[in-house]
């Protein structure tokens, strides 16, 4: 399977890396190459800036340039476009200002390397994605920077390609565990009960949902700061059937929900997986304490790419790493885009 086959169902594809140098830019390059061979018009934007020629923290780490085919649409800034020297027209100049100039949507008139730099706010990136679709992009790729996940939100993308790599750990088992934990978090399942789902979706604020159909609103300060405050609220209502959090859901609140329920199962519902922030814990650990996580809008995981090299540090055997991650993630296409025959290892 090629990576372009894996992303076929999604018109808007987010690329997310589990860390810096996890191979996301190489994955983007592979997708661009394959889509060009298919004759597809592509748009590339980013959430934040990525694609600069050297790493912003360590100049010794050369970053692969993102080469775009003629007619590709790219979100960049006026300054970066001029500096690239690539011939291009600019059908849309946005109002979004960044430290590197104003964000523009450019159409390349020749093959070239342009630094991708979209708006900093996810909502604004969403507008750029729609602009590119309107300008004729059959597929739009949203490149996230460093380990940011916001680009994976279902509001922006129809599916995600996740990049993992040796940079996460020098220990293969630990690397596999951390990748699995990240995938579990990113692919949190939808609320199964249709009625519960529509009740949660209708809420404007965070709340406790009760069996009878009522809801007790939760103060924002309880959700974020004084999380212990949720314990008496939950214990006072045996008829609580779910906790709904609008906005960010953080680990301390989950801890307190678990404490309040003393092991009795309870579902915590949030908008989508990009709003869930786990510190050192994992979804599995919370589940074992009876706290289930569910989302209103699940994120389809299209593929996972593996990068066997941690720059300036260590490396794994490419085939072995790919196979190890594939074994951890049944049903998910796992690819090393630089391996010539990825299908040689059974998924």
């Amino acid at each position: 399977m090629q990576i372009s086959d894996a992303i076929e169902p999604a018109a808007r594809v987010a690329l997310v890396g589990l860390a810096k140098n996890s191979g996301k830019t190489v994955a983007l390059g592979a997708i661009l190459g394959e889509l060009e061979a298919r004759g597809e018009t592509v748009g590339v934007t980013s959430l934040g800036r990525d694609g600069e020629s050297s790493d912003v923290l360590d100049d010794a780490i050369a970053k692969p340039p993102i080469r775009l085919p003629p007619m590709a649409l790219v979100a960049t800034t006026d300054t970066l476009l001029e500096r690239s020297g690539v011939r291009a027209e600019v059908p849309v100049r946005t109002e979004h200002r960044t430290p590197l100039g104003r964000v523009v949507v450019a159409r390349l008139l020749e093959r070239g390397t342009v630094e991708v730099a979209g708006p900093v706010a996810a909502q604004d990136v969403g507008e750029v994605v729609e602009t590119m679709r309107r300008l004729g992009a059959a597929r739009v790729l949203v490149d996230g920077s460093i380990d940011r996940r916001a680009g994976a939100s279902p509001r922006l993308a129809d599916g995600v390609v996740l990049s993992t790599g040796a940079v996460l750990s020098a220990d293969l088992d630990q690397l596999a565990r951390r990748t699995k934990a990240a995938v579990d978090l990113l692919t949190l399942g939808a609320v199964e009960d249709a009625r519960l789902r529509s009740r949660a979706a209708a809420l404007r604020t965070s709340a406790l949902l009760l069996d009878g159909g009522d809801a007790i609103p939760l103060d924002t300060s309880i959700v974020h700061d004084r999380v212990e405050g949720i314990v008496p609220l939950i214990r006072a209502r045996p008829d609580v059937c779910a906790v709904v959090v609008r906005g960010a859901l953080c680990e301390p609140l989950l801890e307190q929900v678990g404490r309040a329920r003393r092991g009795a199962p309870l579902t915590v519902i949030t908008g989508d997986a990009t709003r869930v922030f786990l510190g050192r814990g994992t979804c599995a650990r919370h589940r074992s304490r009876g706290v289930m996580l569910a989302v209103l809008a699940p994120i389809p995981l299209l593929a996972v790419t593996t990068n066997p090299i941690a720059p300036l540090r260590h490396r794994f055997d490419a085939g072995e790493l790919r196979a190890r991650i594939a074994a951890e993630l049944p049903g998910v296409p796992v690819l090393d885009v630089l391996l010539s025959a990825p299908s040689a290892v059974p998924v």
């Binding site: 912003v56 960044t98 380990d147 940011r148 960010a248 301390p252």
Partner: protein
């Protein structure tokens, strides 16, 4: 010669040591080699590999068994063309404290709420203190002293969630985080997490996110999803000028947008 009347040409800049354009460089480093002829040879070979010529060891000292510290002079024949740089420099106009206050009075005319902290496990508060506290730094007042700023300094080791809860409560216009990013980028996750939390709350458009620290550049800030990044050599008025001009531009933008709608 690339110098004219004792002034260096900005098209071919190289280090100044004893006289213009001599390219002299001084550096210090430690090699994990016992003090002795082998270590000296290794030091000279290393400096040559750096692209420098005529290396000269002016100081070598054993630090402990197996480690030698060097100070080396060498000559750099490379030059930098400054006219090709500057594409990433900020468009913010430099302003003094008085100019910032006058600018806010004229263009925004309301107090700007700024909240700041050293986040996560970072205990370094000197950076955020020098920007926010009344006393400021190097004779320039911090934002607390400004007429139009309402500055709140939460101190150090503040969790991202606590910083955000306070920012939302105070309806902050800008959030400043100070972070001592290490060589391995260990604190990067803490910075991206703050941005992701603001995104998850759906409030990214409502607040300016600014980070600062010794290894933070504007480029890194943008890559992390911040609106600006400030590094060494930043004074409170630089941050104040950025906040004032950026908010004026954004509020101007929203006024334009509603007029067009």
């Amino acid at each position: 010669m690339s110098s004219v009347a004792g002034r260096a040409s900005l098209e071919a800049v190289r280090p100044y040591g004893d006289h213009l354009d001599d390219g002299l460089v001084q550096m210090s480093f430690t090699l994990p080699v016992d003090h002795g002829p082998l270590a000296r040879e290794a030091a000279l070979a290393l400096v040559t590999q750096m692209g420098l010529v005529r290396p000269e060891i002016v100081h070598a000292k054993s630090l402990t068994k197996g480690y030698t510290y060097f100070v080396v002079f060498a000559q750099c024949n490379h030059t930098v063309d400054c006219s090709q740089l500057g594409a990433t420099s900020s468009s913010t106009r430099a302003m003094s404290e008085e100019q910032v206050d006058a600018y806010i009075g004229e263009h925004i005319a309301r107090p700007l709420v700024v909240i700041g902290a050293s986040t996560g496990t970072d205990t370094h508060s000197v950076g955020i203190d020098s920007i926010l506290n009344l006393k400021g730094f190097d004779g320039r007042h911090g934002l607390e002293a400004y007429h139009w700023f309402r500055a709140h300094n939460l101190g150090s080791q503040v969790p991202n969630t606590a910083l955000l809860a306070k920012a939302f409560e105070l309806r902050a216009d800008a959030i400043l985080v100070s972070q001592t990013v290490t060589q391995q980028g260990l604190h990067l996750h803490n910075l991206t997490e703050l941005v992701e939390l603001v995104e998850a709350e759906g409030k990214r458009r409502d607040v300016l996110l600014i980070c600062g620290g010794p290894r933070i550049s504007d480029e890194l800030a943008k890559e992390l999803g911040f609106d600006a990044g400030f590094s060494k050599g930043t004074y409170p008025n630089d941050v104040a000028a950025f906040i004032a001009q950026e908010i004026a531009a954004r509020e101007g933008r929203s006024a334009d947008a509603s007029a067009a709608a």
